[in-house]
Amino acid sequence: MLNRQELTDIISGFVPEAEFPEGKQLLEVIVPAEKLFSLVENLKSDKRTAFNYLINHTAVDFTTHFTVVYHLESTDFRHLVVLKSLIADRENPNIDSLTALYPTAEYFEREVFDLFGIRFNNHPNLKRFFLEDDYGYPLRKDFRDEVNIIER
Amino acid sequence: MSSNIYDFSTLTGSIHAWLSGLMSTGWVTFTEMVLVGLAFLLMYALLGLFLVYAERKVCAFMQNRVGPNRVGPYGIIQTIADLIKLLMKELIPIRKSDPLLFNLAPFIVIICSFLALAALPYAKGLQAIDFNIGVFYVMAVSSLSVVGILIAGWSSNSKYSLIGAMRSGAQIVSYELSVGLSLLAIVVFAGTMQLSGIVESQADGWWIFKGHIPAVISFIIFLIASTAEINRGPFDLAEAESELTAGFHTEYSGIKFAFFFLAEYMNMFIVAALGATVFLGGWMPFHVGHWEGFNNIMDYIPSVVWFFSKTFFLIWVIMWFKWTFPRLRIDQLLTLEWKYLLPISLFNIVFIAFIVLMGWHF
């Protein structure tokens, strides 16, 4: 198990422009969206880190931008890292898919696409999961549904 | 002999004599046929109702439940209430189904089970038709119902039904062999295919006791194979509730469903009755060697009671199977038949032929 500092060093080795916000519950890394895939690929294949388990993947709408969040864990060493990417483009948000690395990412990403409208490049089957094709993206903060959602 | 006091041929003979005094021979035959038909119809309905009730109570007993207990004392009228419900339900026509075959299938199934009832000896002198190939007839007729099941599955235009029907076809065609061979074992022992003849041959002991181990093996194979042949658990792949929703009768409703339901129970009765007749001595009472007093007491129990108690015992065993065992998979089912039961029965029958030739049986 690597501690925070060791992980920080390894990750900065892979992606020098990664930021490490202070005072968080877990080790968080903010990486540019275009560097995310290569970073995860390295983190997964590197013998020291071996992040082979994608616990959770989701997105958060901060109204100014989207944050895509990945919780990765190594089942061998049990260290945990939170990767984040900011997507400023609200009109056509997109980021690389991690399906090639984690099979489970395919479904997490489909859910994020369904609820946030974030497109995932190289995703094998990017279709709406729960909703119809012309429905809005309900977890966006600017989503309005006059019929079904009563604003309080 | 004291067993003669319950001989039904005296009763039927007196009815015949009384009718002959009233009308000409042709009319007597006609009236008798109507009477017998009505009697069978009544028996069919009553047995069906009783078996459904019995199944519910047995299954409740196995499952730590009470079972039906609201309609009538001990829920006796529950089945009748259900029957009325089924009668009043809508018969849903299925779009793109084949209407002729769709409506025909339940009748084929129920007629097949009805036909087999005719040849069974219920008690001494109580048998509608005593064919000289009775065993063959009952087997042939009861396995005809697979045609009805296949038609039902195909004409429903539902994939679940079709899978269920195809499973049922494969299953019944396979297990028919084992049922036939296990019955043939006793036919070899008794030297006749006539059901009454087989029963008569067991006057001094049932074949399951007289036939040594081969008869016991045949009996076990018969129980397994006939359970499979009537599509009951653990061989209920044609219905396979958890896999195919309801299998071949998924699309049926109301009284057409009730026909399938009833036919299943009557088939269970038929195989149990056949098993009781062939292996357990039919209506013959239980006799032990030279215990004259004991045998005389046994003789005082009417033959019809003997027949039905043996039959219901076998029915109970079949129900016990269903409520205890998980269901087999289709490939395991066919493996069981073709790799185990069939070779065993074939060797068994050769062995029995040898025993009969050497005269080693009782």
């Binding site: 968080k24 082979n52 616990i55 | 793109k96 958890s242 289709i330």
Partner: protein
Amino acid sequence: MSEEIIKDVIIGENEDYIINMGPQHPSTHGVLRFEVCLKGETVKYLIPHIGYIHRGIEKMCEANTYPQIIHLTDRMDYLSAHMNNEAVCLLVEDALQVEVPERVKYIRTILDELNRIASHQLWWCAFGMDLGALTSFFYGLRDREHILDIFEESFGSRLLHSFVMPGGLMHDVHPNFQKRIKEFITYFRKKLPEYDQLLTGNVIFQNRVKGIGHMSKETAIGYGVTGPSGRGSDYSCDIRKIAPYGAYDKVQFNEILETGCDTWARYKVRMAEMWESLSILEQLVDNIPEGDYTAKMKPIIKLPAGEYFQRVETARGELAVYAVSDGNKSPLRMRFRTPNFSNLFVMNEITAGHKIADLIAISGSLDLVIPDIDR
């Protein structure tokens, strides 16, 4: 036979055909639809279609306060209702740096384990039924009733109790609580061998489950299969061991691991977990410390701005709660990583090439709860 029927039955080439299992099907255990491509009876591939019972719990969370959110989490995995509640409570307590009384920790852990046993009992019922052994259903329900009675006595509800609150419990447990649990332990220790007699030892049952649905450890990790399903593939994923919460660091228990990787292994893991849960209960029930049933909490709970992450082990695997707070009384974003969502999608991988009956057995062995998938 009319042309239409033939066209309808045979879809695609090579006589493959597609059947839709669900949304109303007896063994999908809810409104789940499998689009199954079959060749004869052999499954070629399978596509799960979900969303029939999606209630938008994550969206609802954004409009509700944290104590209210607890009542929503019940409705995800209704068979592990207590664990789901606890996940949110732990998250809130962690964020507010609240020290929870020992008594609360013990009671929560006891409830966790009771809930786990109840859930595994229901799984056993349904698994037997999936395989056609209908009697198992009633055996399991008979014993589950005892646990539900304990719940009812203390919380007034049997399934969705929402009994834990941020900081502690809603109220103290019933005075009979310990006595009833001890009675249950002795009762269930006698009844659990019956399960083995009825189902586990059955030859037909063993032939049905052995060697089907092979899920290697790599597959399990890749698809994020956790809980007993993952542990059947020798994948050590018990959050109770990895990141102990409640009183799990004070009890001795083993993480059940099986190396069989098949349906039989997953079955054995769950059966062994029931024994293990009983032993955890036994260790805890006599040692519940006296004290308050809740820590002192502010009437309105506002989480400091930031992001929080909490994992618990439910009866089906790892539930992770991820909350983003902007300092208000309701979260900016609440995300539930539910175990069944990940467990479901391994189905295609492990069912291909098996018979349709095996598909039912495999989906039964993954113990899917559909509202947990859809949220």
